[in-house]
Amino acid sequence: MHMADALLSPVVGGSMLAASVVVAAYSIKKTQNELDEKKIPLMGVIGAFVFAAQMINFAIPGTGSSGHIGGGMLLAILLGPYAGFLTMASILMIQALFFGDGGLLAYGSNVFNLGFFTCFVAYPLIYKWFTRKGISPKRIFWGTLISVVIGLQLGAFSLVLETLLSGKTELPFVTFLLLMQPIHLVIGIVEGLITAGVVAFVWRERPEILEKTSAGLPLGKVSMKKVLTGLSIAVVVIGGGLSWFASTDPDGLEWSVEKTGGTTELEASSSIHNVLADIQSKITFLPDYGFKTSESDNEVKATAQIEEVWPAVNTGTSVSGIVGGALTLVLAGLTGLIISLSKKRKEKATL
């Protein structure tokens, strides 16, 4: 399931993007070092294959419904974790751009949830463990099935965490978890069975494809350590930096502050904060309308305070809001209409 822009706060989205960039950079380095240029067209075409394969309906016996595949684990098994991760990243980019599945700001989260956990956790720790003594149909079946299920469970768990840290939904942690994990268990089992069938078929018909991949890409302990170290540094630095500057948005940070510190108030005493507040007060025009101060207060302080402000909204402000909101939409529509009318007129004039 794809994470969507609207459920993310910029801080969480930015941190996940940073984490994905680190993994991608590491994968690119490994891919360049270890593979010949032959693999580039292969990665591209396999990416297109996964895209196409996602459109196949697989009949699930006894249910009357059908399932689909995500493809992360299949890519890791066919191409190895590094090339697999990069291929998954490009598939997700195309899905975000052309189909609105996920979004540009949620791109990092999706790459991490669907690519990292399958290629860098489930593949090396589970699939490789099952096939450590060589490949056989039975090992392929159990290795693939379990690694797909675990990979998807981790991805779903990560999605829940990202959504909650972003603070856009009211779903309690446990409820959200109880909603997402079982659904993804079912999806994972179906996808695991399909992927296992596919991998077994490829191994039967063209064993050299799988043998090359598993022999060519050793995943040593050192490299995993490097990835994880880089990841944590990126998340801390980017996440910390972003949240510092994005303090106008209290959502994600506020949530974590509340959980860790037991207080919802953020002290706005830092110098950068004052500078930002100062700039904001300068560019905020029409200061004599009453809501200006409460607006900037809301941004500096916490969500909890916005909650307190809500019931206190007086009728006059509500009327202004509704009238203004409607007018803004009408204005936006009119702008579009005027532009298209003037364009048509120009076209007529040139004819």
Partner: protein, 269 residues
């Protein structure tokens, strides 16, 4: 089947739209990419109770759609298609947040307010991403990514994937048609052939990749994918970027609809 065909059609529609030559299409791809990222960041930085303040952000997609002469239908359809997940998660807000607030003499549930806020954000964000590709095209966007120093192996990979989606979707639609003609009244592919059906396609894909590599090598492929000449950023692009950013900042720091509303109500009173 219809799903496969419509996906192919969807890709082609956006590709065709990107070939237009309106003033938005002529803006530098990197400028459009950066503007879109700033737009998304600003929209998503709003708190969860914000509705009215988000409305000015409809200006951006509306202006792009009209100036770039993008038909509303295909964009709107995709925006709606991306909705089920958002609705699925967002609908729990009214369930779990049943606190109420009164305004305008009516009682509103705060859960519905946050739900509506998520829906608005989703609409404008998905719309902005789709408009980026509909006014830029994959090749130009790839060139913009290269300018941002995204490694060429990733960009090349992305372009090849995109290029071959057409080929493989057509191939899979042939396979699905052949299968469905031999298995009438069956919903989807039977479990017994799950492995071999997809597996066959994988084998064909590997063979195709080999042929593609051979033909690329014969044409002197050296790891570089040439996207054609992209002009440098000019002052018009800078104006476009800074103009929009200024609007986004003003709309973020001022509640514009509220300002208009209070002005109108004061005048009326």
């Amino acid at each position: 089947m219809s799903n496969i065909k419509s996906s192919l059609y969807n890709l082609r529609v956006l590709d065709d739209l990107a070939r237009k030559e309106t003033s938005i299409h002529l803006v530098h791809p990197l400028t459009k990419l950066l503007t879109t990222v700033v737009f998304l960041t600003v929209v998503l930085s709003f708190g969860r109770y914000e509705i009215v303040g988000l409305l000015p952000f409809f200006f951006y997609p509306i202006v792009i759609i009209t100036v770039a002469e993008i038909p509303l239908g295909p964009i709107l359809k995709r925006v709606l298609l991306a909705m089920p997940f958002i609705i699925g998660i967002g609908i729990f807000n009214p369930v779990f947040d049943q606190q109420t607030m009164s305004a305008f003499g009516l009682i509103f549930s705060k859960g519905w307010v946050t739900f509506l806020s998520i829906l608005i954000k989703s609409c404008v964000c998905v719309g902005a991403s789709l408009l980026l590709i509909a006014t830029t095209g994959m090749d130009s966007l790839a060139a913009a990514l290269r300018m941002l120093k995204v490694p060429k192996i990733f960009v090349l990979q992305l372009l090849l994937t995109y290029r071959y989606i057409y080929v493989l979707i057509e191939e899979i639609s042939h396979m699905m048609l052949a299968y469905s003609l031999r298995a009438p009244r069956q919903r989807g592919i039977h479990p017994r052939v799950w492995g071999s059906f997809v597996g066959q396609l994988i084998l064909r894909t590997f063979d195709r990749a080999q042929r593609i590599y051979d033909s690329m090598a014969l044409r002197n492929f050296n790891g570089e994918y040439h996207t054609g000449k992209i002009d440098k950023n000019c002052w018009k692009d800078m104006v476009y970027l800074f103009g929009w950013c200024l609007f986004f900042i003003i709309a973020r720091t001022n509640n514009l609809p509220m300002l208009i509303g209070s002005f109108i109500t004061k005048v009326v009173n």
